[in-house]
Amino acid sequence: MLTDTILFYIFAVMVLAGGILTITRRNAVHSAISLIVSLLGVAGLYLLQQAEFLFAVQIVLYIGGIMVLFLFVIMLVNLDQAAKQRQFNKQWLIGLAAAGLVGAQLGWFILKGTDAFAIATTAMPGASGGEGNTERIAEVLFSQYLLPFEIASILLLVAVVGSVIMAKKRV
């Protein structure tokens, strides 16, 4: 239990420090590297909660797929002069105020809401025996959630066609 607590704080620091660095770095490549650290922290949190399948998906898909896509576009698009210019827009004050408001709401809800769901105050349950996480996900995904799964595949098809058309020189 003590190991879990220490690991949680290590991963939490990774997630938050990576996130803060992502939105403050001037150079977009540095932002992308910080985002990788943050996503690795999230993957570690999945593993702490016995979500092994999502852990693998997070590493393979996010860090292996999306981040390579981001870095590819950063290299493709010339960001050198953008790095020399002003980094924050003129609405940064309103933006910070809006974000602070959302944060205050969330914090208030978390403080007050612990009574609303009694489950939230109990300690995290330990590892459950029986079949593995991936088998359970597969069983539910391919029976109860079959239609959303197929719709997701259509969404991916639309995204592939859309991004190719967007990035093409002449349609």
Partner: protein
């Protein structure tokens, strides 16, 4: 030392969501705005997995998979739009793209 409860995960997820929101609202570079959206979606996923674990119900993780699918589609289309925008306007700064504003 206190054991880690679901509330810990909720607080972490809220903090990550705020960081992402600040990034979306205040940065000028579109690439970094897209990265901030990824941060927001990851905050949502932390929440979903935490409740899935606490309630011993696998549906939350299924939903997280769908959120990841959406994140992939969004990143692909967003970066495609960014490439088209850079080809036509030679800029990646969000507030310089104001053709529809008067």
């Amino acid at each position: 030392m206190h054991p880690i409860t679901t509330v810990h995960y909720l607080a972490l997820s809220a903090a990550l969501l705020i960081i992402g929101t600040v990034g979306v609202l205040t940065r000028r570079n579109i690439v970094i705005i897209l990265m901030s959206i990824e941060l927001i979606l990851n905050a949502v996923n932390i929440n979903l997995v935490a409740f899935s674990h606490a309630l011993k119900n696998i549906d939350g993780q299924i939903f997280a998979i769908f959120v990841i699918t959406d994140a992939v589609a969004e990143a692909a289309v967003g970066l495609g739009i960014l490439i088209a925008l850079f080809r036509n306007k030679e800029t990646v700064l969000a507030d310089e793209v104001d053709l529809l504003k008067w």
